[in-house]
């Protein structure tokens, strides 16, 4: 039971990271109707930028960890957001009225560009950092000596996710930008006729998605203590699975799906086999898409002729 609780905690933390990435997928799919295949790599870029900023700040002699983390978070979000904006501008906007598979293929190309750009610029080797946030709480110690740990970094990941999700929900439901986004999601032409700047709204969607992916990248860096140029691919597919599982286009769905995928992956590794954990995640993707393509909280897609 204790072992299970510990795995549950680990799964929730992993799920929070997946959820943050999944939001980017779900928003873009909701508005533009394409799978932003490069989003996993945007997450990877976010991790790298966080790592580099962190290194520079440390070498400048800063010691206040909360301050460093805040600066790292802001820098990483800002630059990664610019990556998201640029990608949309270069690779997706010219294809908006092209045939349906074109943006998808362009996105695959963009994903290769980002992965290999990162490899060329920063080398192929894994980049480790020493643990930044240490310590934690012992929740429960059973008679046979098994300890349920809740580390500080786990708390930070979960809290950051909750705060961001709250801000984000407010943004989409209460602000002008959120209203524009929902309008574009329903009908781009009509929204444009009513004075919504569709191009700008779509750009903003990519910017926000990339910024959240950067947060996920930083969390990943802090939690696992390393980044490498290839981490975006698998994380991206899993986050996409999360978005589909939760119902693509739905924000709470993406978070819910992320948590579900994180839990399933952790529990699978704990009770079955670590080697096949990615197989498990991919199988879930297939099963979900086949048996409930609308996901947990999604709306059914209407087939128009």
């Amino acid at each position: 039971m204790d072992y299970f609780t510990q795995q549950l905690i680990n799964g929730l933390v992993l799920g929070s990271i997946y959820g943050l990435i999944a939001i980017g997928y779900t928003m873009v799919y909701g508005i533009v109707g394409m799978i932003n295949f490069a989003h996993g790599d945007v997450f990877m870029i976010g991790g790298f930028i966080a790592l580099i900023t962190f290194l520079i700040l440390i070498s400048l002699g800063l010691t206040a960890i909360p301050l460093i983390l805040l600066v790292v978070l802001l820098v990483s979000m800002a630059i990664t957001a610019l990556y998201g904006w640029t990608i949309e501008r270069i690779a997706y906007r010219p294809l908006r009225h092209s045939f349906r598979l074109a943006p998808m293929l362009s996105a695959i190309g963009m994903s290769f560009v980002l992965t290999n750009y990162s490899q060329v610029a920063q080398g192929a080797r894994v980049k480790p950092i020493p643990p930044v946030i240490t310590g934690g709480y012992t929740l429960h110690e059973s008679a046979d000596g098994f300890v349920i740990q809740l580390s500080n970094i786990q708390i930070i990941v979960v809290i950051t996710t909750i705060v961001l999700l709250a801000i984000f929900t407010w943004l989409v439901s209460r602000t002008r930008l959120g209203r524009d986004m929902r309008a574009c999601e329903q009908d781009q032409t009509m929204a444009a006729l009513l004075g919504v700047d569709v191009d700008r709204t779509i750009s903003m969607t990519f910017v926000i998605g990339a910024a959240l992916a950067a947060v996920a990248g930083l969390m990943y860096l802090l939690y696992y203590g390393l980044v490498d140029f290839f981490m975006g691919f698998v994380a991206g597919i899993k986050a996409f699975t999360a978005a589909v599982l939760g119902g693509i286009g739905s924000l709470p769905g993406a978070m819910l799906g992320g948590l579900a995928i994180g839990l399933i992956e952790t529990l699978w590794s704990a009770y079955f086999s670590v080697e096949y954990k990615d197989v498990a995640a991919f199988s879930i993707l297939i099963v979900v898409l086949i048996f409930m393509p609308t996901g947990l909280l999604g709306r059914p897609e209407v087939e128009k002729v």
Partner: protein, 431 residues
């Protein structure tokens, strides 16, 4: 008509682009990190590279803006004089036979150049893969991102059957095709209800699952170490070696290792031509027409009483079968296979060949394979930059010619006269 932007505006655009590039590259390029000997990360600056990149973006934006002015707004209809048009179609009619004759003569012309023969075999393997995937993507309009899975199934089928049971290549080749087709149907069944992007993601997941299973099922597949010592093919039972009953001794000619290469060349050429011939024949059958109809409009297909289930399944199975053949050939040519050869990048490469070739055009796919693999060879010395350039090329192709090199479709069925339709006019992938 918008007034042409003047020099200040061009400079302003270039400046803004350079500024964006500066921010984008500042940390990723300007700073280089590396783990030191003790595992501690160190970093050093590379401001020179950063400056040259930003300068390149600045110069590049000016060039692009100027080109835009000269060429005019994108998407404008380009008027082609009828004489040029008829000349093009004249050339078009003879490109395919000329290419075929040239290909047949390649081993004769380049008999002593092992490198060119090897490259030609590689190109032909991708031509075959492209033609195989073309059945699924180009004809049936189903976006398959996991095609390499069938390639892997074919390769491992032959490798395992040959190394464990000692079966000959010619027995295993059909078996590899059948097994791959079986997996194609297995994948096809569940994904029938999906369309477009979802289908693409599921096939991608399927391809990854196959690869992960190959890596982890060590007892059967050898895991990451792969399968080695795969037997070389024989000339219908006559081995191509230096022994007394080898082909060279049998024909009373002097033995040379080039014999096997030439044999492999004609083998893959025959397999590729078989793929092409089967595809062309299938297109004239009701099933082929159903594929093309399915690509154009699935809803209309169903309304007309076409069984979309069997149509999709046969497309998957046919494409997978050719992938399996190519895989078996790959295994026998290499003599060694490992999961590393069957990554998502391979799927994307084959897909890029099909897309660049114009989705459905057999000649286009062959030309695209030649361009892509040839281009890859040119960049061989720049190993790390290869995939970077490949990704950029994919994006640029999508922007410049989303319909590929040969974007015209000659209808398979026509009333009195075949009339090529520009593929811009067909609404593909909306079904």
């Amino acid at each position: 008509m918008k007034a042409k932007p003047g020099v200040p505006s061009i400079l302003k655009t270039a400046f803004v682009n350079a500024l964006i590039a500066l921010v984008l590259f500042s940390l990723m390029v300007g700073i280089r990190t590396e783990a030191g000997a003790s595992g501690q990360l160190t970093y050093w600056t590379r401001f020179g590279e950063l400056a040259s990149l930003v300068a390149a973006v600045f110069g590049g934006s000016i060039v692009i803006e100027l080109l835009r002015q000269w060429i005019g707004p994108s998407g404008a209809e380009k008027l082609v004089p009828p004489a040029v048009k008829s000349g093009m179609s004249f050339i078009g009619r003879y490109v395919a036979p000329a290419l075929l004759i040239f290909t047949l003569l390649v081993p004769v012309i380049f008999y002593n150049q092992r490198y060119i023969l090897d490259l030609a075999i590689l190109v032909l393997t991708y031509v075959m893969l492209g033609w195989g995937l073309n059945v699924v993507v180009g004809l049936a309009g189903l976006l398959d991102l996991g095609y390499v899975a069938f390639y892997a199934v074919g390769a491992y089928s032959y490798a395992l059957l040959a190394t464990n049971f000692g079966w000959s290549f010619w027995v295993c080749l059909p078996l590899a095709g059948i097994l791959a087709a079986f997996w194609g149907v297995l994948l096809g069944f569940p994904v029938l209800r999906l369309r477009g992007d979802y289908l693409a993601i599921v096939t991608l997941a399927f391809g990854e699952i196959i690869r992960l299973v190959i890596i982890n099922w060590q007892e059967l597949t050898g895991g990451p170490n792969g399968v080695s010592g795969i037997p070389r093919p024989s000339f219908f039972g006559i081995p191509l070696d230096n022994s007394d009953d080898g082909l060279a001794a049998w024909l009373h000619i002097e033995y040379s290792t080039t014999h096997r290469i030439v044999f492999l060349f004609y083998l893959i050429l025959a397999l590729a031509l078989l793929t092409n011939w089967a595809t062309i024949r299938l297109r004239r059958l009701p099933i082929g027409r159903a594929w093309e109809a399915l690509r154009e409009d699935e809803v209309a297909c169903r309304a007309l009483g076409i069984n979309t289930t069997t149509t999709k399944l046969t497309a998957f199975a046919t494409g997978a079968m050719f992938g399996g053949f190519a895989g078996a050939f790959f295994a026998t040519r290499q003599g060694f296979i490992s999961p590393e050869s069957f990554t998502f990048q391979e799927s994307a490469l084959v897909l890029a060949i099909v897309v660049l070739g114009g989705m459905g055009s057999q000649l286009g796919v062959a030309l695209a394979a030649l361009t892509m693999i040839g281009g890859f060879e040119l960049f061989r010395s720049l190993e790390t930059y290869r995939m970077l350039v490949f990704g950029m090329a994919m994006v640029l192709i999508m922007i410049w010619r989303p319909r590929g090199l040969i974007g015209h479709r000659a209808p398979t069925v026509y009333l009195t006269k075949a009339q090529a339709i520009s593929s811009d006019l067909v609404k593909e992938g909306h079904g």
